[in-house]
């Protein structure tokens, strides 16, 4: 297909879509009665509902079901359904050495990323709050959010680039190490620390998110609280510890939980930076490998379901906190 063909295909798809929605709107314009209203509501909602039911609800249930079966996609092999394996896939996740390492890495990611990203975001938001260059300073931290995780991984792979000590260095970090007379270091290959250097990448991306939300929360602290504290001689770090942090606690929780949810599902960084080698794989990446490389659909489904189970309580807590934030 040439580029022009593709653009034409795109135009056709968009035109087709708007023709259909336009027709729905036109056909339901004349309806005024009570029952007409019901038809209108159905016409407005049905397309979305249908897509969600077919594309989210059914596949999610199907995947959970699949996680109790062996590696082939068709779960019922033969008449007796011999492919049923019960909880074996889950047992494999928690007993196989490789997969235990994956779980451990995931735990490190989910604990460290929210804390570090929120920490940097909060400190930076406080530091630049109400300064002359606030807008520009924020934009600098903000920018990584517009970058794809693939792009971010390439940017950092370049920072971590390794060459033997006697060669010219390309990566900034090894350049620095060499400049101070140390040996160069294989940042992405040396276990177990390479996991931490991968986490740096997601912290770099997510800190901007934390900063934006927390900065808005800091600006919403009533001036009289801050003024009163200042009159009482509370300044600097104490003001931060006793006034700022308690006042933005709900936002802090929302930021922490949101980042941990995002982190659980990140797979681009591991795939681009190390390809899951050298003991760096995480759950979301392992799901991809098992499903689309090893074609072990049962294990893949179990890994996906595990992500779901892990995300679930955090999301519920996150939503309740957000509700509380909105209710203020």
């Amino acid at each position: 297909m040439t580029s022009t063909d593709k653009l034409i295909q795109m135009a056709i798809a968009v035109a087709l879509f708007f023709a259909v929605t336009g027709a729905i709107l036109l056909l339901t314009t004349r309806l005024r009665s009570r029952s007409g209203e019901r038809v209108q509501a159905a016409a407005f909602i049905a397309p979305s509902l249908l897509l969600i039911a077919i594309g989210l609800l059914y596949p999610a249930l199907r995947t959970i079901y699949q996680s109790f079966f062996g590696s082939s996609y068709e779960p019922l092999v033969g008449a007796d359904g011999a492919n049923f394996v019960g909880l074996d896939n889950y047992r494999r996740i928690f007993t196989s050495e490789d997969l235990l390492q994956v779980l451990q890495n995931t735990a490190i990611w989910v604990v460290l990323t929210p804390i570090l990203a929120t920490g940097f975001g909060l400190i930076y938001a406080v530091l630049v709050d109400r300064t002359r260059f606030e807008k520009f300073a924020k934009a600098l931290i903000f920018l990584p959010m517009a970058i794809s995780l693939v792009g971010a991984s390439i940017i950092w792979k370049f920072v971590y680039d390794y060459k033997a000590s006697e060669q010219g260095q390309l990566g900034v970090l090894n350049g620095l190490l060499k400049a101070v007379g140390l040996d160069t270091y294989r940042f992405l290959l040396t276990e177990p620390w390479n996991t931490f250097f991968l986490i740096v990448i997601i912290v770099w991306v997510q800190a901007g998110f934390a900063m934006t939300i927390l900065s808005a929360a800091i600006k919403a602290i009533p001036d009289d609280i801050v003024e009163a504290a200042k009159l009482d001689g509370v300044n600097g770090l104490k003001l931060f510890r006793y006034i700022t942090v308690p006042s933005i606690r709900p936002s802090l929780i929302v930021v922490l939980t949101t980042i941990s949810i995002t982190t659980l599902k990140v797979f681009d960084i591991v795939r681009t930076a190390t390809g899951g080698q050298f003991g760096t794989s995480v759950l979301a990446y392992e799901f991809y490998v098992q499903s689309f490389r090893s074609f072990d659909f049962g294990l893949g489904a179990a890994l996906a379901t595990l992500i779901f189970i892990l995300v679930l309580p955090i999301v519920v807590y996150n939503i309740r906190q957000m509700r509380r934030l909105e209710a203020r």
Binding site: L143, S148, P246, V316
Partner: protein, 315 residues
């Protein structure tokens, strides 16, 4: 604000110290330390991108033999790397750039349009079971896309009732439909939820008086709601744009490695794997993929922040 009452600071019992020269000096000092810390963080955050940007303009031999910081003493710049990644036959990012555009535009327009309609009905057309249905849609936000991928892919490849397969060699639209539809599905729950929240903020009297004047829902929707919703739509639109443009997983799974449908991210990830030492290509390639989202992001930053504060974070 029940949870946020700050504990009394321990220093409260002592009387406020008078503004002396020493306290003023301490303030100034902490101010200076604060600025220094802010500058250090800002540099840490900017330097990695800056280094790659500089490298993308350096000649290949230089990029491969010494660090980018050497431009200070030996400035040499060229556009060769860009020429090579965009039009060179072995990398050919121009094709993938087109693919990204072709994927992104419908994958932003379609879910937003569907969500605006659905959220209008959820917000302003009363019908039985409305709240239950809305909560159900909202709750589906929590499903990680990984959980849906394999069965969804199966539906595309081998649909029931002898429907036309959307994936494969003679798929309609060259195979783009699977990517468009998947992005649409994954965007809908959050889009409906957010736009519904914005719509509920519009005063009910406005709708009521329009109804009294004889306007139907379709007129109210198109004449009153859409104009009022423009900022909210822009806020969600920029999010959806960034997700789709920067996405790797959906493209990998649903474009199935087919180079005529794959976006920039897929090509770039492959390049990082196969030619990890060709930093002149990787740096230029990365910036080709970054330019479009950066422009959109910087020009619509206001809406982006608004969307973030309203909770536009994909589950």
């Amino acid at each position: 604000m029940t949870t946020t009452t700050p504990p009394a600071p321990p220093v409260r019992s002592t009387p406020a110290p008078p503004k002396t020269a020493s306290s003023a000096a301490r303030d100034a000092l902490s101010g200076r330390w604060a600025s220094a810390a802010a500058i250090v963080i800002a540099i840490l955050w900017t330097l990695p991108t800056f280094g790659l940007l500089v490298s993308s303009f350096r000649p290949e031999a230089e990029v491969k033999s010494n660090g980018w910081w050497n431009v200070v003493t030996d400035p040499q710049f060229t556009l060769d790397s860009y020429r090579q990644v965009i039009t060179g036959a072995d990398v050919d990012l121009a094709t993938y750039l087109i693919n990204s555009v072709v994927i992104t535009i419908p994958a932003v327009l379609i879910p937003i349009s569907l969500a605006v309609m659905a959220s209008y009905a959820f917000a302003w057309i009363p019908f039985r079971g409305r709240d239950t249905l809305f909560v159900a849609v909202f709750a589906l936000q929590i499903v990680p896309i990984q959980v849906t991928m394999i069965p969804l892919l199966r539906l595309y490849v081998d649909p029931p009732f002898n429907l036309m397969p959307l994936a494969g060699n003679d798929a309609p639209g060259g195979g783009f439909y699977t990517v468009w539809i998947s992005h649409t599905i994954f965007a809908l729950p959050l889009a409906i939820f957010l736009l519904h929240n914005f719509m509920r903020e519009i005063p009910g009297e406005l709708i009521e008086s329009a109804r009294v004047d004889g306007a139907g829902h379709v007129q109210i929707f198109s004449k009153i709601m859409l104009p009022l919703m423009t900022p909210a739509i822009a806020a969600f639109g920029i999010f959806q744009f960034l997700w789709v443009w920067n996405d790797l997983l959906v493209a990998l799974v649903f474009a199935g490695g087919n180079p005529s449908v794959s976006p920039l991210t897929v090509r770039l990830a492959a390049l990082a794997g196969q030619r990890g030492e060709d930093w002149h290509l990787l740096s230029a390639g990365a910036f080709v993929s970054l330019v479009v989202p950066l422009i959109v992001f910087l020009s619509l930053q206001r809406y982006f922040v608004r969307g973030l504060l309203a909770g536009s974070v994909k589950g």
